[in-house]
Structure formats: structure tokens, C-alpha cells
């Protein structure tokens, strides 16, 4: 249970970063923290008390495995997160070139 609470706290830290920070890079870091907390949560769902690695090999056919499906989901989500963050960073760099700053308060071409 304590792990789930920690996970939630981590999510909130990330959300804080996204909502409060004014620096583009820090916002991206906030999103990354949120993502890791969600991945952590998915891993926790699949955990079985006393389970072993879900690899079938000789002599371990009847062992108690942790659920491999959330792990597959996490791997996929990591790949997606990689693509998203790479794109975000490149947009942030482009913005930095246009404005000469990472501060979100200085970007005001969209209003209304």
C-alpha cells in the first residue's frame, strides 16, 4: 500500500512541475516524472507477492510468476514516452531559438 501512495506522490510532484514551473525544460521534466510514476504503478499492479521473473526455463515451469502483461505494457509505454519527449525537446529547442529564452511567460504570440 505504501508503494501506491509513494507512486501517487510522485505523480503529484510531476503535476506540480507541469503546472507551476515556467521553464520549458522543467515542464518536460515534470511530464517525465509523471510518466515514470504511472509506469511504476503499472508494474505494481502486475506484482505478485513472492513471484519470480516470468521466464519459463527448465525446472521453473510451475513457479509463481509475476504478471508479465503490465511489464509488456510498460515497455511499450516507455517507447512511446521516448518519442513524445524527443519531440517535445526539439520543439523546446526551436522555441529557444526563436525567443532566446526558455521562459514560458515570454512567449505571447498566442492570445485571445
Amino acid at each position: 500500500m505504501i508503494l501506491f501512495i509513494l507512486c501517487f506522490i510522485l505523480f503529484m510532484i510531476g503535476l506540480y512541475g507541469v503546472l507551476i514551473q515556467r521553464n520549458l525544460i522543467k515542464i518536460i521534466i515534470g511530464i517525465a516524472i509523471m510518466e515514470y510514476s504511472v509506469l511504476f504503478f503499472l508494474i505494481l499492479i502486475g506484482y505478485v507477492e513472492g513471484g519470480t521473473v516470468p521466464i519459463i526455463s527448465e525446472g521453473f515451469e510451475q513457479a509463481l510468476f509475476v504478471d508479465p502483461l503490465p511489464q509488456a505494457m510498460v515497455l511499450t509505454a516507455i517507447v512511446i514516452g521516448l518519442a513524445t519527449k524527443a519531440l517535445m525537446l526539439s520543439v523546446a529547442i526551436r522555441l529557444y531559438k526563436k525567443y532566446g529564452s526558455f521562459d514560458i511567460r515570454e512567449m505571447k504570440s498566442l492570445k485571445g
Partner: protein, 505 residues
């Protein structure tokens, strides 16, 4: 056959990138050909009959009644979405043939476009929720890149906003999927419906997470702030795709599918969806009235019009949960779906019009236009059709769908909702009268004396969309409706039938 919807756009995307260096124009023709093929395929599937098609990727059979394969499902509701995506996608792709000549690296545009289409098709036909998430992310990432395609200041800024909110919504959706897997032990949509525990708080919690996530993707009322920026800053064909198709495929479609077929119909959720729909309908149009930027105005109207769709579906859902007349529910849902089709046509057309005006005059500010009707008759004519259609003037399609929704609301006894729908329609009309007055009639600006009509591919797409705006009015006829709309409505009305047909339980 179903997998073609994923194979064809994906291979178009990759072939475009592979040969892009040597044949930069290949992407255009490849994408258009792919979409033409898929449109034909979809029409064939619709004509062929309302049966659901189910496909197991990898050919894994069910083990002890547990579906372990990845499912791809096409049923009546899916077919409508597939038709919209293919048709609007095809016309927008044809429009882009001329439009993208102003950009460098055209082939990347078409590769990303194909990727976005593949993502949307995947979301629509995916039969399990995690693959739905993966395809949703593919579509989203491609759309992020496309919004910033021109790398101008406002585009990058809009992209960043869109990316941050899109990223947060994806994470909320992923959390929801995690909880769903925790509670049911499966990811298959149809299997979830049967395995869902009879625990009200749990269901409500997961529903709230998923409504929040997909509502953010669909830009429903409290989460709409990214949409006007992203949709107005993107290159115009992409605006048409985002507004016309993407928010429906990844937002509205998933919400409707989840809350009709997967979760048991729930009164609180139905109320929440109806309220959200009404609110976004009203707020969207109120924000749109004061806009002078052509594309921004259209973007706010997208929020408002999506409100109509959600309102229609929500009324149907409310009636089904309270166990009132099923016929009125069917009417409301069919009104909502009809408006979904119509909106993608006329909003796509309006964004293409805005793109044409921008292509020739270089401005999106309505105050700097004026008198364009004489110089650009096709653009002006088609935008007249689209404006009348969006504000619900007969005999254009928007009128019929709005009337169906309003009639259903009145019959169900929601007089206030009917009144709101009528009022919003009137304000929409006012707003578009402004567009027509400032944009196309009146005296021409001195610097726009020399402009010409847009190139053939652009004007052809716009004309075809304008014609479609008229033709889709025919969906009101019972014979036509039987083929297109009724299968979709049946899928939604028979809520538990979905898991029965898919898993066979």
C-alpha cells in the same frame, strides 16, 4: 481484410520516407492512392451489410474462453468513423497536393500524414484498450509534429501547449487502463465488459479517469484550452484533419464506445456526459463570437459543434439508463452520429477555405479581407455552403442533424437542452454571417487586387466537400439511413451485444 486499414497507410508512410530523397513527389500520389483504396474498401464494407467483422492478430485462438489475441473489430459504428476518416482524409490529401508546395521537405509532411491516418484507423478498429492507447499515441505524436510543421513562432508555441496537455491526458488514460486491468484482469474491450466488477465506486473512478483523459483529447469543455491554439496554428490541411477527424476518432469515438459498450450504462456518467456536452456547446460558441482570426473562430466552433454530438449521444444515454422509450434514445443517438459525420465534412471544408484564403492573401484576420467573392468564387461559394451548413440552414446537412437532436430532446422532455441547442445554432449563424460579410462580400482591399482563384487540386476538393455537404442531407431518408446510420445506432443501443459478438460469450 481489416488489417489493410493499418498496413496500407503505414507502408505508404515508410515508402515515402525511404524514397523521399530521390522521389520527393512520391508521397503525394502514394497517400492519395492509399486513401482512395481505403475509401472504396469502406464503402464496400458498408454496402456489404451490418455484420461485425472480427480479426485475431497472430491467429491465437481463445484459451479457455479467455481471448488472448489482439482483436481488431469492425462493426456498424466503426464503419461510419472509417468512412469519415477515409473520405475527409482523401479530400484533404488531394487539397494538400497544391498547398504543400510552399513548404520544404514535403515528403515528410506526407509521411507524417500517413502515420497520423494509420494511428486513427488503429484507434477505430482496435479491439483492446491498450492497443487503442498505442495507436492513439501514434496519431497524437504525428499530429504534434504536423502542427509545428511550418516552424513559426506561434506554431511552435501551440505545439508545446498541445504536447503538454496531450502528454498529461495520455498519462491519465494510461492510469485508467492500469486500474481497468487491475480490476478486470484483461485488456480486451469486449472481455472487460463481461469481467467488470459490480463495484460502483470503482467503476465511477475508472470512468472519471477515462472521461478526463479522452475528454482532454477531444477538447470537451473544461479541457478545451489547447484546441484553438493548435487547430488554428497548424497548416490548413492539418487543421482540417485535426478538427474534422482526429478529435472525433481519438476522443468522441472512444468515449462513446467505452461508455456504451464497455461500461455498464450509469446514470451519473450519463448526466456528466450530457452536461459536459451542453457546456462545451455553449462556451465554445460564446468564445467564438468575438474572434477576428478566421481559423481561431473555426476552432472555437469545433468545440461547440462537438458539444452537439456529445449532447445527442448523452441524451440517448440518459434515456437508456432511466429505461424510457428506446425509440427516442435511438433518435437522439442517430442525431448525434449524423452530426458527427456532418461536422467532419463542413468543418473540414471551412478549414480548407481558410487555408485557401491564407494561401492567396497571406492573412487570417477577417478585418484585412473583404470582397474576395469576386476574385475567388469557388472558395467563396463553398464557404457559403459550409457556413449555412454549420449554422443549420435547410437544405444543408447541418440542419437535419440539429433538428433530429432538438426533436429528440423535446420528445424526451429536456426542454432546456433543446432551447440551448437552438440558441447556440442562432449564435453560430450570427458568427458565420460575420465571416461571410467581412471575408467575402463588400469592397476588396487594395493589396488584394491581383489575387487569383486557388489551384485546381484545392478548388476541386473544396467543391467536392461542398457537394457532399448537400448530399449527406440524404441520410435523413429512411432507405439511406438504413444502410449508414442504423447499424451504428444498433451497436450502441444494444449495449451488451458488443461483447457477445466479439468474444462470443
Amino acid at each position: 481484410m481489416i488489417v489493410l486499414y493499418i498496413i496500407v497507410p503505414l507502408s505508404a508512410a515508410f515508402l515515402t520516407v525511404i524514397f523521399g530523397k530521390w522521389l520527393p513527389t512520391l508521397g503525394k500520389y502514394l497517400l492519395n492512392a492509399a486513401l482512395l483504396f481505403l475509401t472504396g474498401l469502406t464503402l464496400y464494407l458498408i454496402i456489404a451489410g451490418p455484420e461485425a467483422l472480427i480479426y485475431r492478430v497472430g491467429g491465437f485462438a481463445d484459451v479457455a474462453d479467455v481471448p488472448i489475441a489482439i482483436f481488431l473489430v469492425i462493426d456498424g459504428f466503426t464503419k461510419i468513423l472509417l468512412l469519415i476518416v477515409s473520405l475527409v482524409g482523401l479530400l484533404v490529401a488531394f487539397y494538400s497536393v497544391s498547398y504543400t508546395k510552399q513548404y520544404t521537405g514535403e515528403e515528410k509532411f506526407y509521411a507524417l500524414f500517413s502515420l497520423m491516418l494509420a494511428g486513427m484507423y488503429g484507434v477505430i478498429i482496435a479491439g483492446d484498450i491498450f492497443n487503442l492507447y498505442v495507436f492513439l499515441e501514434i496519431a497524437s505524436i504525428a499530429s504534434y509534429a504536423l502542427v509545428s510543421f511550418g516552424i513559426e513562432k506561434h506554431q511552435l508555441e501551440a505545439t508545446f501547449k498541445y504536447q503538454v496537455l496531450g502528454g498529461v491526458s495520455s498519462l491519465i488514460i494510461l492510469t485508467g487502463i492500469g486500474f481497468l486491468y487491475w480490476g478486470t484482469g484483461t485488456l480486451n474491450l469486449a472481455d472487460i465488459a463481461t469481467q467488470l466488477p459490480d463495484h460502483n465506486i470503482y467503476n465511477l473512478f475508472v470512468s472519471v479517469l477515462l472521461i478526463g483523459g479522452f475528454g482532454l483529447k477531444a477538447a470537451m469543455f473544461p479541457f478545451h484550452s489547447w484546441l484553438p491554439d493548435a487547430h488554428s496554428s497548424a497548416p490548413s490541411p492539418i487543421s482540417a484533419m485535426l478538427s474534422g477527424v482526429l478529435i472525433k476518432a481519438v476522443g468522441i469515438y472512444v468515449i462513446i464506445r467505452l461508455f456504451f459498450n464497455v461500461f455498464a450504462l450509469n446514470y451519473q456518467i450519463a448526466v456528466a456526459i450530457t452536461v459536459l456536452g451542453t457546456m462545451s456547446m455553449i462556451i465554445g460558441v460564446l468564445l467564438a463570437v468575438g474572434q477576428w482570426d478566421f481559423k481561431r473562430l473555426l476552432a472555437y466552433h469545433s468545440i461547440s459543434q462537438m458539444g452537439y454530438v456529445v449532447l445527442g449521444v448523452g441524451i440517448g444515454m440518459l434515456l437508456l439508463t432511466t429505461g424510457k422509450d428506446e425509440k427516442i434514445a435511438a433518435l437522439a443517438i442517430s442525431g448525434g452520429l449524423f452530426h458527427l459525420i456532418n461536422h467532419s465534412l463542413f468543418k473540414g471544408l471551412l478549414f480548407l477555405n481558410a487555408g485557401s484564403v491564407e494561401y492567396r492573401t497571406g492573412t487570417r484576420d477577417l478585418r484585412k479581407m473583404g470582397g474576395l467573392a469576386k476574385k475567388m468564387p469557388v472558395t467563396a461559394g463553398s464557404s457559403f455552403v459550409a457556413s449555412m451548413s454549420i449554422s443549420g440552414i435547410p437544405p444543408f446537412n447541418g440542419f437535419f442533424s440539429k433538428v433530429i437532436i432538438i426533436i429528440a430532446a423535446v420528445q424526451a422532455g429536456f426542454y432546456w437542452l433543446a432551447l440551448f441547442a437552438v440558441l447556440v445554432s442562432v449564435i453560430t449563424l450570427a458568427s458565420f454571417t460575420k465571416v461571410l460579410k467581412y471575408g467575402f462580400s463588400g469592397k476588396i482591399h487594395s493589396q488584394h487586387e491581383k489575387i487569383k482563384e486557388v489551384p485546381f487540386s484545392m478548388s476541386f476538393s473544396m467543391t467536392l466537400l461542398a457537394v457532399l455537404c448537400l448530399v449527406t442531407s440524404l441520410l435523413i431518408l429512411p432507405g439511406v439511413r438504413q444502410v449508414f446510420l442504423t447499424p451504428a445506432v444498433d451497436v450502441l443501443i444494444e449495449t451488451v451485444q458488443y461483447s457477445g459478438t466479439v468474444v462470443g460469450l
